[in-house]
Symmetry: none
Subunit: 192 residues, 4 copies
DNA sequence: CACTAACCGAGACGGTACGTCCCGTCTTCGT
DNA sequence: ACGAAGACGGGACGTACCGTCTCGGTTAGTG
């Protein structure tokens, strides 16, 4: 997350720099990929100096995490709010898969970065993984109450299995389609 | 995979160089981590020139993939051969978790590299993921035949869910313990 | 020649880096010879990064040209100022030969580099050859006015012959001694 | 010079390899220049292995010296044989300049190499410089006898001055034209 | 209304890894 | 013992980023 160390004194930070950097980062990563996008590229595209970026984020990964986390939090709310239909778990997965069509490559890069930097890993977990985990947990709890999943289902394990399966295919470049969503949802559906 | 362009003519490649490079790579990565291990380090530790490495592998990631894939294939065989006990799925997961205690960090790095290089991703899938997937599939098929998992279980989906859950926690730095193995195995156990 | 692209903006170049690089280059070339001195060696000896060198000179040859041209221009002034005695041409040659005892090997390397790189050749000509040529020309003009060389001497040809003879022996590893200076000076001395 | 260490036993050397290497060396150096021509290039162009080259010459410079020395020795004889006319020195210089139109660049490279390798320097001197020096010496001696240069001319110094002036301009990329030949010849012409 | 502190861009800094190139040697097989 | 072929250890090269530092200049709030 962008860090703000303003003490009140001195010239205030340029309010336009952060959005410009976030947008430039998002655009360049989507265009050229994470690895091919350098810090210098992002700062130049945002029309700012490199130091301005470092003053607000510790590095490339954190900036790009912010650049893609914004959208993600909106989506999590959407998913949480509406998970209707006869098979809400399947519906949740389908919508999540759909959202990854655009942001998937960037998320893969962030997950990659999390492997190389433990501090970033924890940040990524808190900002990205945990909220979504909570959302799916809620969906599953609701499904359990409505009887569409077994009453004794281990919800935490089910969340790990479903999101794990999602990331598993995403990270390996395998397709995330409706059939996959249905098959995964089928794994934990209540036996009638 | 190491590429071998032997045409028969000319001086043959040094048979000791490849093992030396693989072992040096494996040792250095386990000691210092993936990112902190450079190509020069590996070549020097193996007592070879840098060009000898480039002659056999396209880069660091492919070499290290080979360095860890060797051992992996042995382990896959072990796991496949013996998955005994009342809950073979749980046992399989437990053993797999145990094996990751040592190699986990390196595998995380390889998975990270797979996100930055599509060609390497495919290689990693073929050399690492698919064999293990087959092993778990066989375990599940056996379990289905012996009645310890439901007869109508979607084996492919179950494999994705179990291995997905494994990678999910591994990549996020969360613990892979016996309790987790039991919980995941419980998800797909037959309801008696 | 060192190139200075200062635009006024940004951090100014370290004023100590260039002298340090020049001195390190000069010292290492005199110690180990031109070919045995690498760019990395020079940068390390100067306590600077390699890129700092490349930011100021296109390569090794240009840096070393500068490293030896500095001193050379001083010497040229010295030679120009004082060319006394009954045979000023011979005296000029003797002093020039003497100065080459130390710098000769480095100059040979620079002349060698000039053969491999036309751009460097021109630079070498302008920075090294032309100034010395002018100095000798002045000495000869003075000698002509004082009657110690023939009045109708073709000064340009004489300069070429004298410096040519100097380089000819220098480049072939033949001795540049007082006798040689006297013999060359004798070629163009006025017949009494 | 190509060295021949055959002992009589074993397979005799391929008689075609040496000419092929010499011709390939000559062609490539004239086409691409000395520095841009690697040992591998020459061997490949000659259809031979690199070791065959090293078995016959110590390195690139010696091979190329041989490649260009062949022609040179013919030319030296030509020059020696016929130096007619009213000003034989000028004529000798003019012809020598003319011959350098083609081989000049290669000779410059050889002289460059002589600066980096003392052993080659001596070889170059013996194979190239000394014979030509003798030829010019003979021309000057003849001219002295015929009265076209002063009787007390120091022939060795004159040779050094004339060839030195030649190399001086050649190595600096300056033109070797008839005017220059005339001016140099004029320096040592007898005053009538 | 000046001062001052933190900002801004630009870009140089030391450092490190990369992948390429060539060197001169060595090692195979076939002739 | 030669030949072609090509791998070997070694080392320099020039490039690309990294994260930091240092300029001159700008822009608020404070004294």
């Amino acid at each position: 997350m962008e860090h703000d160390l303003t003490t009140g004194s001195g010239r205030p930070r340029d309010a336009e720099a952060s959005p410009a950097l976030l947008e430039a980062a998002r655009r360049l990563v989507l265009e050229k990929g994470y690895a091919a996008t350098s810090i210098s590229d992002i700062a130049a595209a945002a029309g700012t100096g490199r130091q301005t970026l470092y003053r607000r984020w510790p590095g490339k990964a954190q900036l790009i995490l912010d650049a893609f986390a914004e959208h993600a939090s909106d989506q999590v709310d959407d998913l949480h709010a509406a998970a209707p239909g006869p098979d809400p778990v399947r519906e949740f997965l389908r919508r999540t898969f759909r959202a990854l069509d655009e942001t998937g490559p960037a998320l893969r890069s962030l997950m990659a970065q999390a492997q190389l930097d433990p501090a970033f890993c924890e940040l990524f977990r808190q900002r990205f993984i945990v909220p979504r985990r909570a959302a799916l947990h809620a969906v599953l709890a609701q499904a359990r109450d409505s009887g569409s999943v077994p009453a004794d289902l281990d919800l935490d394990a089910a969340v790990a299995a479903l999101f794990g399966a999602l990331w598993y295919r995403l990270l390996l470049g395998e397709p995330l389609d409706d059939g996959y969503a249905a098959a995964l949802a089928g794994l934990i559906r209540a036996e009638p």
